[in-house]
Symmetry: D2
Subunit: 155 residues, 4 copies
Amino acid sequence: MSRLQHVRVSFRKQGFMRLLHARISRLEKGLVEISASNRPELSQQDGFVHAGVMATLADNAAGYATLSLLPPGSRVLAVEFKLSFIRPAVGQAIRARGKVRKLGKTIALCEIEVETSRHRKWVSCAWGSETVYCDIVKSKNQPVAPSERPYSRQT
Amino acid sequence: MSRLQHVRVSFRKQGFMRLLHARISRLEKGLVEISASNRPELSQQDGFVHAGVMATLADNAAGYATLSLLPPGSRVLAVEFKLSFIRPAVGQAIRARGKVRKLGKTIALCEIEVETSRHRKWVSCAWGSETVYCDIVKSKNQPVAPSERPYSRQT
Amino acid sequence: MSRLQHVRVSFRKQGFMRLLHARISRLEKGLVEISASNRPELSQQDGFVHAGVMATLADNAAGYATLSLLPPGSRVLAVEFKLSFIRPAVGQAIRARGKVRKLGKTIALCEIEVETSRHRKWVSCAWGSETVYCDIVKSKNQPVAPSERPYSRQT
Amino acid sequence: MSRLQHVRVSFRKQGFMRLLHARISRLEKGLVEISASNRPELSQQDGFVHAGVMATLADNAAGYATLSLLPPGSRVLAVEFKLSFIRPAVGQAIRARGKVRKLGKTIALCEIEVETSRHRKWVSCAWGSETVYCDIVKSKNQPVAPSERPYSRQT
């Protein structure tokens, strides 16, 4: 199983993604985008997309962006994330992107962004960062050297 | 309508809370707790409660904890939140608490915490902070003086 | 006095910038960079640049990047910032950049980044975000409309 | 050398703490407080204590609060921190407290708070959280079991 297939298999196990009708709309090494159609079930009190929906998709995108870089069998866990809300989220669709900015031996730092579309124009609604813990499986082909710090030092 | 009723009315307008089967389980001035039963629809890939569910309940609890202190008709908007995940969230139920640590003229700072219960014992799973923007309605009875800074200065 | 001059005048009032021997090395509308030479007085226990030095320069760069967009006489206040540390900060010089990602009526969101240089090559050491409160002076020439939300809505 | 001595020895190696005239004012297992006298060299443009000074002391307090729980010879590294500013920091003295909320096998989560004193009354000025990476030395007497996740699971 490839690293990208590994992401898809894990994604399908998430009951919460099914509840949100969310799907992976972009999958590259270190970059994952997750999308959902907007509907009344995702709204907050003023009819906007709920901040929790945005946070959910963004967190998931960051985790899978990290997992896409690790050997199959590895696992990722969110350590923390921070998300800033820039605009009320309105529109027909919503998508969140996670991008790995730095992959260390045990910790990855991701940039997260959420957009909504109105009349096919995407607008940024939220932006932030997530720290992901990497539980990297060790294989004969892809040995992972032990390290005493979370981020590898520059060479 | 009182400030606490105002919170309940707003909560019932949230489609996303209905999707999560979430309810307000505690409501005091400056402190709100939101609870939900755990079920497969809220899970991530390993069967734990999804980080997005925790973030959703925590964000909502912070917003309503702030709203509970404002005159009815006021509105709140999340500016940003940060949530750290301490333990895998397992158990039959989940609850999130938002507590206002500082209420200024336009900005409130809340502490957020998420717990899950196993066999009726509650364990902390996530903890963090949220900044809430307050759009305070001005009334004759409850005048709000204009201020040039987000937090009121100590006297 | 122009907006950029306004930034320089404010910067010179900061006793802490003098203690750090810091200077503005880049000043554009919405983008400010602050630099300092590395020296033993800025170190933590392992000889790296102290995380507090990085946070100080980054916070300042964000505040002044915001101020550079406001009418002279306006003031800025940090609401909160989050900074992630990517690599041990080593080298002869350090610089921090603040860039405004979104300017609303009362709140700005900035991206912050810190780099150090070794042998004239700059490497990213820390990255994050800052929320800035804007106390915007109202003038006849640059009226600022009252708004009920921190970020202006998209048109 | 005890764990608390280990903290003091490390603290004395920090050039930046000397520049700030900062000292450890409280040292317990899992709780460290660092203090400094206010002076013009620590100010921002309005004469308040610079946010960078608060961040520096808070970050350091969190790191050493974590180190106070680890076997001597271990090292700590800040992964990230977030600090919210509640009030303008004025007064004769400043102190920051770091408290470990959760210590895992490789990651600790700390609460940070900064106070200033006016006329001997301490007032909270900033509050937030810090993630610390623990590079734990392994000894025969204090074995550290390998773990596949950053926080130990509850039993």
